[in-house]
């Protein structure tokens, strides 16, 4: 899952990036409205954390512009203004949820998780595919109830495939959604990770669809 964080306060920006990275997301950051707007326009994000008070272009304008262009990724607004009139304005501009500053990091993570899950059409915090079970809150993976240890890259890959269970995901899409923009994108690395994952999971869990990509089958 790849997330964009748009926040002008450098400390808060770093904290959000760290917390999201720790939670297993690939994170891109922007420090002003224009930069954030450009990234959101050109990169395929699974969710955006957007501050309202931004230099150069305020968060609501950024959001409205994305929505006008038909961008549908879930957006979590971050703002100091927490009156209901402000929230209504934010939601009407196209936001999916709202966290008021000063927030607890856990709340941002929980809301973001819920948004990503909702966007994928999943109802629960646990996703299962055959014997494999993923708890999106803790990032714990079990096979037949036995915990499996995964590296963060492996977890990201599995999580993305499981969120899009039943769909064929191309290597390009995986690259775009698993790595932040600074990552050295060599599509071979995807194959390496898939290979490692397959060793830790039941054999037929991740299927290769020749010429198209990978898939985790619907139960």
């Amino acid at each position: 899952m790849r997330i964009l964080v748009v926040e002008d306060d450098t400390s808060l920006n770093r904290q959000l990036k760290d917390a999201l990275t720790d939670a297993g997301y690939a994170v891109d950051v922007a420090f002003d409205g224009e930069e954030g707007h450009y990234l959101g326009e050109t990169e395929p994000y699974d969710a955006v954390v957007l501050d309202i008070g931004l230099p150069q272009m305020d968060g609501l304008s950024v959001l409205e512009s994305w929505r006008r262009q038909g961008k549908t990724m879930p957006v979590l607004l971050l703002t100091a203004r927490d009156r209901w009139s402000d929230k209504v304005q934010g939601i009407d501009a196209g936001a999916d949820d709202y966290v008021a500053k000063p927030f607890h990091m856990e709340e941002v993570l929980a809301r973001l998780r819920a948004l990503v899950r909702r966007a994928a059409g999943l109802a629960s915090n646990e996703i299962t595919a055959g014997a494999v079970r993923l708890d999106v809150r803790s990032g714990r993976v079990t096979v037949d109830g036995q915990a499996v240890k995964l590296t963060s890259h492996e977890l990201r890959l599995l999580s993305y495939l499981m969120h899009h269970k039943g769909k064929v995901i191309s290597r390009t899409e995986l690259t775009e959604h698993l790595y932040d923009q600074d990552f050295d994108r060599d599509s071979n690395t995807i194959e390496v990770f898939v290979g490692r994952l397959r060793k830790k999971l039941p054999e037929d869990c991740i299927q290769t669809v020749r010429g198209l990509g990978y898939q985790i089958a619907e139960d």
Binding site: L12, A80, W84, K87, V88
Partner: protein, 463 residues
């Protein structure tokens, strides 16, 4: 404010001053007019009497000269008043020694006075005298020569009659003028009242602004009062601006603090140790203070804002839509009212804050179902807005509901940051003089019953 009200005193009345001033002038002017008129009348009558006497004098003199005999019976005047005794109308012909040659028949029991002094340019002497009966007379005398003798012709006319006429005229004039005066006084009282009417209208309009029915003084006013109305509007505008500015600055400060607090809190939350604990505890306190004082600043600014109103149906529809997005698992049902519902008397953002918090709480605690109903309730003195928000959650026990709504506990006496957003709801409801009751819902959960003031239907209909 207290000092300003102390300076404001009520003294005198423009209507009364206008009335008394114009009434005073009326009395003076009418009395003077009365005297002037009777004086003119009496002069006119006197002149006419003199003319009549001159005419009679010339007639007598002509008759004496014609007959050549001052004692002739042919000498007479056609005017019958000279035949009535004591009429005050007499004539006589005599010589310088007082020997009478001829008399009018009206001369009975009196002596006509002898006049002294030099005659005027026409050879006449005139005087005002009293006869033996106390009647005032105007006397005219002329000397004629019937060679070799000279005679004096005397004619008198009744002056008392004229004085009496003037007296009567004066009486009538004062009655008429008095009546005119009373009518004019009534007129001026009416005029004064009519003149004051725009001021009463202005006062009503300002009253409407204060009670929140309109945002500014409206209506058409005469040029004398229009500037006052404009000044009042200007004052309202600048007042609103000052409040708005104060609100914004407090808001900017408090909101500006939120990001650094968030940074500190996150930083400390990610670490272990005594320092992290202290920072966490203190940032929690800071964040509580910021939100408490932010709320309080909003409330303080609010009480002074007048003339605002909001459509509750629009606000609830909007919030229902927002809740659908924030709480996608909850089915929020909004029953729109059957008829027209009066508007909320107050700030739209405040109504949104009150109902938004209640609705958000209902969604949080519900098991998938929330219902919102909007209506109005006719009270003894006013119509209030009735908003019911209920859920199918666990609800609150009677005791807990009482605790949440404890009366008299104000925001500033409480620990900052406690509660479920109900503090600000309660405080706002109090500021607007509304009420909030928590009951058990038929859905199983909590029913929040909110009553809020409305603007009068007439002004709501205006748009």
């Amino acid at each position: 404010m207290a000092a300003e009200t102390a300076v404001l005193k009520r003294k005198g009345s423009i209507t009364a001053s206008l009335f008394w001033l114009s009434a005073g002038w009326l009395v003076v002017a009418l009395v003077a007019t009365g005297f002037l008129l009777s004086d003119l009348y009496s002069r006119a009558l006197d002149t006419s009497l003199s003319d009549t006497l001159d005419f009679h004098l010339e007639s007598l003199a002509g008759a004496v000269l014609e007959s050549g005999d001052p004692t002739s019976n042919a000498i007479s005047l056609a005017d019958p008043r000279f035949d009535r005794p004591r009429s005050g109308w007499y004539w006589a012909i005599r010589d310088a020694n007082g020997t009478l040659y001829n008399l009018s028949t009206s001369v009975v029991g009196i002596d006509l006075p002898v006049m002294m002094g030099p005659p005027d340019a026409l050879g006449r002497r005139t005087a005002v005298m009293e006869d033996a009966f106390g009647t005032n007379m105007r006397v005219v005398e002329r000397t004629i020569t019937l060679a070799p003798n000279t005679y004096q012709v005397v004619v008198t006319g009744n002056l008392s009659e004229i004085l009496q006429l003037v007296e009567e005229f004066r009486g009538q004039a004062f009655v008429v003028l008095g009546a005119v005066g009373v009518m004019l006084a009534i007129m001026s009282a009416i005029v004064a009242r009519i003149a004051m009417r725009p001021i009463a209208r202005l006062s009503h309009s300002i009253e409407a602004v204060r009670s929140g029915e309109s945002g500014a003084v409206t209506g058409t006013y005469p040029v004398e009062i229009a500037p006052l109305a404009e000044e009042v509007n200007e004052l309202l505008r600048s007042n609103t601006q000052i409040i708005e500015r104060a609100r914004n600055q407090v808001g900017n400060l408090a909101h500006g603090l939120k990001t650094p607090i968030a940074v500190l809190r996150n930083e400390a939350g990610a670490r272990q140790g005594a320092l992290a604990d202290v920072v966490l505890a203190q940032t929690d306190k800071m964040s509580g203070l910021v939100s408490t004082y932010l709320d309080r600043a909003r409330l303080a600014a609010r009480t002074a804002v007048v003339g605002k109103r909001a459509d509750p149906a629009t606000v609830l529809l909007r919030l229902t839509r927002v809740m659908g997005k924030i709480h996608p698992k909850v089915d929020v049902r909004y029953d729109s009212p059957e008829g027209a519902v009066p508007w909320f008397r107050g700030d739209e953002a405040d109504l949104e804050e009150i109902t938004g918090n209640l609705l958000d709480n209902a969604c949080k605690w519900s098991r998938g179902e929330v219902r919102v109903r909007l209506g109005s309730e006719q009270g003894e003195t006013a119509t209030s807005l009735l908003i019911r928000i209920e859920d199918n959650g666990a609800g609150l026990s009677e005791e807990d509901a009482q605790k949440v709504l404890r009366r008299g506990v104000r925001l500033d006496e409480k620990t900052p940051g406690s509660g479920l957003g109900l503090d600000i709801v309660k405080e706002l409801v109090d500021v607007y003089g509304g009420s909030l009751q928590l009951k058990r819902s038929t859905l199983g959960g909590l029913l929040a019953e909110l009553r809020l003031p409305t603007v009068r239907a007439t002004s709501a209909a205006k748009g």
